[in-house]
Amino acid sequence: MKKIIYSIVYALCLFCFTSCEYDNYEAPAETFKGTVIDKTTGKGFQTEAGDGGVRFKMLELSWSNNPTPWYFTCKQDGQFQDTKVFEGNYNITPLGAFVPFVQTDNTGKITKDESLTIDIKGTVTHEFKVDPFLAVSWVGEPVANSNSTISTQIKIERGTTDPNFQQNCIDVYLYVNYSSPYVGNNNYDSRYSVHLSGTDANNAVGKTITLTTPVLPGNRIYYVRAGARIDYSVDGSRRYNYNEPKQVKAS
């Protein structure tokens, strides 16, 4: 009887300890960073944080030529940094409100492929230069009026001459919030923001327009920023082009 018990205990020990062998991969530690540069300004591409802004489609080709893509997103000012990338060979396509790096015709045939294929090891820095659909810029500084409104002058121009991306401008917004400089379509107060749509939005292209907020509850700091988009979907969303956010103290 004892013998049986002992042999069971030995067998158990044997099984228990063999499973304890250290069996793990290194955590991802490589860094991929850089800036998305707006060719019209030469500065960082203005966008919004999160999925509605700029996303990088990452295909890791080291193991398979048919990998499941993973994504990470860009900061509001066009800078990006991912410090947890596995070492390997990647195909990278930025997706945002700019002329797509990979284009297909209406049968799905790839007509242009400027995606980046690169080995990521250590720290890799890259600049993506992009043609925005629309170049949105400030004309002068926003003005706090005495009646507790804010007036802004904005210029919206085409950022590309490519005829495939000259769709109508369908929405122009003056986004306003009072919470943070992270203002945009992802974070604005619909009570105070100004919206042009339809022909009003399309007519705004190429001119300097003045947008004035409704009366604001006054005497505090607001963040304002203009955004506009054309009738073209990138990666499932019609994405906005922006100018840089500004801080204004309403009277």
Binding site: D51, G52, R55, N66, P67, T68, P69, T104, N106, T107, G108, K109, I110, N185, Y188, D189, S190, R191, S193, H195, S197, P214, D231, Y232, S233, D235, G236, S237, R238
Partner: protein, 652 residues
Amino acid sequence: MKIAKYILCLFFIFNISSCINMDIPPMNVVQDKDVFGTSNGISSYMARLYSCLPIEDFRYTPTRLFNHFWLVNPPSCITGEGLSRDMGGASSENVDNKIFSDLYVLIRNCNYFLETIDQYKDNYTEKELNNWKGEAYFVRAVTYHALAKRYGGVPLVNSVLKYPEQPVDQLNVPRSSEEEVWNAVSADFDNAISLLSETNQRGRATKWAAYAFKSRAMLYAGSIAKYNQIQLFDSKNGNKRVCGMDASLAQGFFQQAYDAAKAVEGHHDLYMKDWKAGDLTAQYTNYLNLFSDAASTEAIFVKEYSYPESVHGYDAYNVPAQCKGANGYSSEISPTLDYVEMFDGLPKDSKGHLDVYNADGTYKLYNNTMDLFATAEPRLRATVILPGDQFKGESIEIRRGIYVGKDDAETGKINRLLPEGNTSRYENYVNVGGKTLIISSSNANQTAYTLHDGTKMNPAGASGYFTGDGTCALSGFTIRKWLNESTPKALVLENRATQPWIEMRYAEVLLTRAEAAAELASLGKTDYQNDAYSCIDKIRNRAGATLLSSSEKSSVSSFISAVRKERRKELGFENKTWWDMKRWRVADKEQQNTRYYTLMPFYADYASKYFFDIRWDERGNTYTFDTRWYYQQIPGNAISTSNNLIIQNPGY
């Protein structure tokens, strides 16, 4: 030795006898012949197909999906039709592998039926056989429609896949193009139409149901071809366009939608049993009864429930707070003022809002909250419980609070409590010397307030608004559509309600016919325009609404908006609107940090009258539709189990 011989004999007897019929099917497993060999067996097979049919009925919510008992996240409260304490904003459906996998199980069951039934054809008449096959095609078509409206092009699997007999690479099926899927839906409905009988057991498909569902599906497909702009190609599979279709296909789909809708004419009709011309009350009763009269000719396809086997809890979750049952739930859906204002018969100001303010900005005063709605369109009253209207024999009391300002009330000149567009709570704002002028209640256990004349009144109505909990009429309105008024309070319980869900009714067929005709007109084919006008007027006439105006008929685009508005009014709270907003591709424009309006009734103590305040949803919620949701996220499991052959939709 004799004994040895006996043993030998016995040995042979057992051996030989045991060798007979060892190869029989297992007795404890139901065999094909048991199911397909008798009509009872087939009934049970059909019961399974129908019970799994993906329709957004009483037991569907975007959060918990199909056939779930817990209904606290109503689908109508992500579209702006209603507000719900449990739905704080716009949302898409929960990403759950259940949809993908369950629907393919259902498709497999249809395929299995179609491939097997012919082996048993000698047991049945041809008519029976055809009808059953037609039902299987019908279920399969409805299922592919449910997949295509969510994901675009999906794998088409129209035969039973055999595992492990078939190699794995035959079992992994990539996505078909969206066009192929809609064409497959159309073909399946055509098969169903030619095979199904004109009548069938209630709750099962008829020829007319197949026509009606086909018109719904083709209208969806046509709208995608016309309005969608998202495209996705599957480069690993011959560059098939799995999201989006060529705009040139729109006309064909709309034509199919029109023809199928037209075919139902004469076989079903609008419910008009209790309707009387010019009689608002009769029209209201008629509209209510259309949902409860089992013999209604309007119902084309119905999902039945029965206690205790198959039940829902719509009443328990949605009755007004003052009628709540023992589970303590109530008023899950509160229709927004935006929804209410679409209806006719209401006094409107120049901006199209309810006219509750005088020209000088003060409130209009009313003796009774229902005075404002005296001439309201009967359909509105039958859809929404208005403040003060009757339900289950009692007046549904909805009041935000009591206004105790004295001087202004005595002269009848009460100024707006909050500036227009203000989102703060009344209690924070309306005060004099730190003391609020609004007396309100935080929940249903109220302390009566003594009015200036000495009488007592609860600050809030018995059905709300309560400032502390959301179990009340959040918008100033509460839902009436689908509620069963004859249920006694003791039976207003979860899992106790059994009123049927009318998934397809003739009004939708008329709306589809009108919309398809209007869209065809926009593409240059104006043959059906007058027919479309009469479809809409037929619905408006029954509803007690104003008939089409000349401005609505003045251009194709204004007529399209009239049809869409009619659809949202007629089919509100029937879980169709979200899909309409999606196929029209308007959801992202409509819901961009959008706030919805509510109507808050107050009692002014010193005026002894009521007034109404229009304001944004007091909870401060905003609704934003993410354009990616036009094509929903394919569950990760579906992708990984296909060896990455199924590709993800854009943006996820």
